[in-house]
């Protein structure tokens, strides 16, 4: 079954990557002209994908710190998987926002001409640090395994592992202990960093006074909880399929533990959402009300009600309550059903991100502006174009393939922990 799921994921990723290349071709040859965003709705699908992936990355990373900082033993075997998932999502997120820039090759200006008043400059600083931390942490987490693979594995992956170990050969007990200590320090630095950069993405929206739907102190907190819920859910699904499954009992325990965490996080995230909606709908100001009304019963109502609420909250919550919460001897389907519920949460969370980015921009800041002057991009409606979807698909599949290939050639989960190598 797992082998079948893995093949499906590979197949989908390769197809999406291939088809997405056409979108990338269009993006690089026609720039932004085939996109549906413009001047009055300046941020579209790619910004939504960016905050979606960065949330998945932050959530997954924060869960990895349960291993390296909080030292929760039963999760020990999935630490590297959590880090690597966070890495894949981070790459997808950065690619996604990079595609969105009007001048992609000037992105360095964010660091060269930093404006500390701008949340986006802070993103530049924090992402660079996070990227570095995650790479260094992955290396220390993998170091001993790399050395072992270099000695025992087959020729190709052994050579690669040898290269990646950068000449390090010490696998003594003391060296391992040193690695653990370093990982703890790195993870400890990583926790406030992950909170800062994802809370910071929330603040990036939260500080925009011109868009009352974003302009709320709840934004950074909602982003963080959303990140933990979606990133935790993704990790849970990933652990089930790619994680250590030699010891069935242990896998089920991990799945139930993660399932409970995800359940609590989804419910908490939903609570924040309800607060945001109820307070916003009480307001008489159109700029507050219109975005919420558009989410609840606008033309794209199904994004909220069907994709997010039904498939992303109700169904997973029911499954998780039924499968992850009960005590006692789990049956053999428990892991699979928790993974399925979590996959639903992780995939449908893009709807939440979409509903944060787009509806806030549909209310004309000056009433009647849309009729004052016509032209491409001068409108207050938005539906992502095919090109935007194709680019988003390519970026997503790039991240997925990066994960799949990395998982194959790196000792993320060692073969002797696996049922099917």
């Amino acid at each position: 079954m797992k082998r079948f799921i893995k093949s499906i994921v590979w197949l989908l990723a390769v197809i999406g990557f291939g088809v997405g290349i056409y979108g990338m071709y269009l993006r690089f040859t026609t720039g932004h002209r085939l996109a549906d965003y413009g001047s009055y709705i300046p941020w579209g699908l790619w910004v939504a994908f960016y905050i979606y992936f960065i949330g998945l990355s932050a959530g997954s990373f924060l869960l990895s710190t349960l291993v390296y900082v909080a030292r929760i033993e039963r999760l020990e075997k999935i630490g590297k998987l959590a880090l690597f998932t966070a890495f894949g999502c981070l790459v997808a997120a950065l690619l996604s926002i990079w595609m969105d820039l009007g001048h992609m090759f000037r992105v360095g200006n964010v660091l060269l001409h930093m404006n500390l008043n701008s949340m986006m400059s802070w993103m530049g600083i924090l992402y660079s640090s996070y990227f570095a931390i995650i790479l260094v942490e992955l290396w220390f987490a993998l170091r001993v395994d790399l050395i072992e693979t270099a000695q025992t594995g087959n020729s190709g992956s052994a050579a690669f592992a040898k290269f990646l170990s950068f000449g390090s050969t010490d696998t003594s007990k003391e060296a391992k202990a040193r690695d653990h200590a370093r990982l703890r320090v790195l993870g400890t630095i990583g926790v406030p960093l992950a909170i800062a950069f994802h809370g910071g993405v929330g603040a990036l929206f939260g500080v925009v006074q011109a868009r009352p739907h974003w302009n709320s102190g709840l934004m950074p907190i909602a982003f963080l909880i959303g990140a933990l819920a979606s990133g935790g859910a993704l990790l849970t699904a990933v652990v089930y399929i790619w994680g250590p499954d030699k010891n069935k009992q242990q896998l089920n325990e991990i799945m139930k533990f993660l399932g409970k965490i995800v359940l609590a996080l989804i419910l908490f995230d939903f609570l924040l959402e309800i607060a945001e909606f109820l307070v916003g709908l009480y307001s008489l100001a159109p700029a507050e009300r219109l975005p919420l009304e558009a989410i609840l019963h606008g033309p794209y109502w199904y994004v909220f009600w069907i994709v997010h609420f039904l498939i992303g909250v109700v169904v997973p919550v029911i499954i998780l309550f039924a499968r992850a919460v009960p005590k006692g001897q789990p049956d053999k389907y428990v892991g699979g059903s928790i993974a399925f519920a979590c996959l639903l949460v992780a995939v449908t969370f893009i709807a939440v991100r979409f509903n944060i980015v787009i509806p806030a921009q549909i209310n004309p800041e000056i009433p009647g502006l849309e009729y004052a002057f016509g032209g491409p991009g001068l409108k207050f409606t938005y539906l992502p174009s095919i090109m935007e979807w194709l680019v988003a698909a390519w970026v997503t599949c790039f991240g997925v393939l990066l994960f799949l290939v990395g998982e194959k050639i790196l000792p993320i989960v060692k073969d002797d922990n696996r049922e099917v190598a």
Binding site: G31, H113, S118, M120, Q209
Partner: protein, 241 residues
């Protein structure tokens, strides 16, 4: 509207004199301000058109749309018009959010964009409460015709530099763009395009720091209002309502 005792044919001459006097001063002593008299605006959009022509604006980029507002119910219906240039705020949200210091407030009050530095993230567009910034996506008016016309490639002179529209990638394509109060013209002692083409003399321009200027007198009018004052942006552009 005998707000100020000045004959219509003297208005432009006086404004030009005001500008030339201001240019004698160091830049930090100037404070460029635009005043728009909504009572006099007839909604002809000559300002919008002259702005597009002066700055060679491509499709989808507009600096000064004129927003029409309808009031009352039939048969008691009136229209008012709101030309909306950049507000050149004293506390500009666009400058605050720019991640690359690509936009800033000059000493004379104009918000400038460095087209060469702008990364095109459009954060400033999101943050402007007046939608005064638009994104140049690289269109030409003669797209889908046999040839992109040369006149569309001719440079504009925003911020006193020549910006030819070479291709669909180089700046100003891919940048956020906005009204500059035609500072390239003003610094040569001329009026902004929208002011010089206004058929009803509804748009005024000058140095607010000069008490003898026409603009300073207009700013003292009890009819003077700023757009969305509650935003705290302290706009320089002022409306007489």
């Amino acid at each position: 509207m005998a707000l100020i005792d000045i004959k219509p044919h003297e208005i432009r001459k006086r404004m030009i004199d005001d500008i030339r006097r201001a240019l004698q001063k160091p830049i930090q002593d100037r404070r460029w301000v635009m005043v728009i008299d909504q009572e006099k605006c007839v909604g002809c959009t000559a300002c919008t058109t002259s702005c597009v022509a002066e700055n060679h604006l491509p499709p989808g980029v507009v600096y000064r749309p004129v927003v029409e507002e309808e009031h009352g119910n039939y048969p008691n219906v009136r229209k008012s018009f709101l030309p909306r240039p950049c507000m050149q705020c004293d506390d500009p949200p666009c400058v605050k959010v720019c991640p690359a210091h690509a936009t800033w407030k000059r000493m004379d009050g104009i918000i400038e964009i460095n087209y060469k530095r702008c990364i095109g993230c459009r954060y400033c567009i999101s943050a402007c409460p007046y939608s005064a910034r638009t994104f140049d996506m690289g269109y030409f008016y003669t797209d889908n015709t046999p040839e992109i016309m040369q006149y569309e490639r001719e440079p504009n002179f925003e911020y006193g530099k020549a910006w030819p529209r070479k291709d669909r990638e180089s700046s100003p394509v891919g940048n956020a763009r906005k009204c500059t109060y035609c500072i390239h013209k003003v610094e040569k002692g001329m009026l902004p395009a929208c002011v010089s083409t206004c058929i009803g003399d509804a748009t005024y321009f000058g140095d607010a720091n000069d008490p003898k200027s026409l603009i300073a007198e207009l700013l003292a009018s009890p009819r003077a209002r700023k757009l969305r004052e509650e935003e705290g942006t302290e706009p320089a552009t002022t409306y007489l309502v």
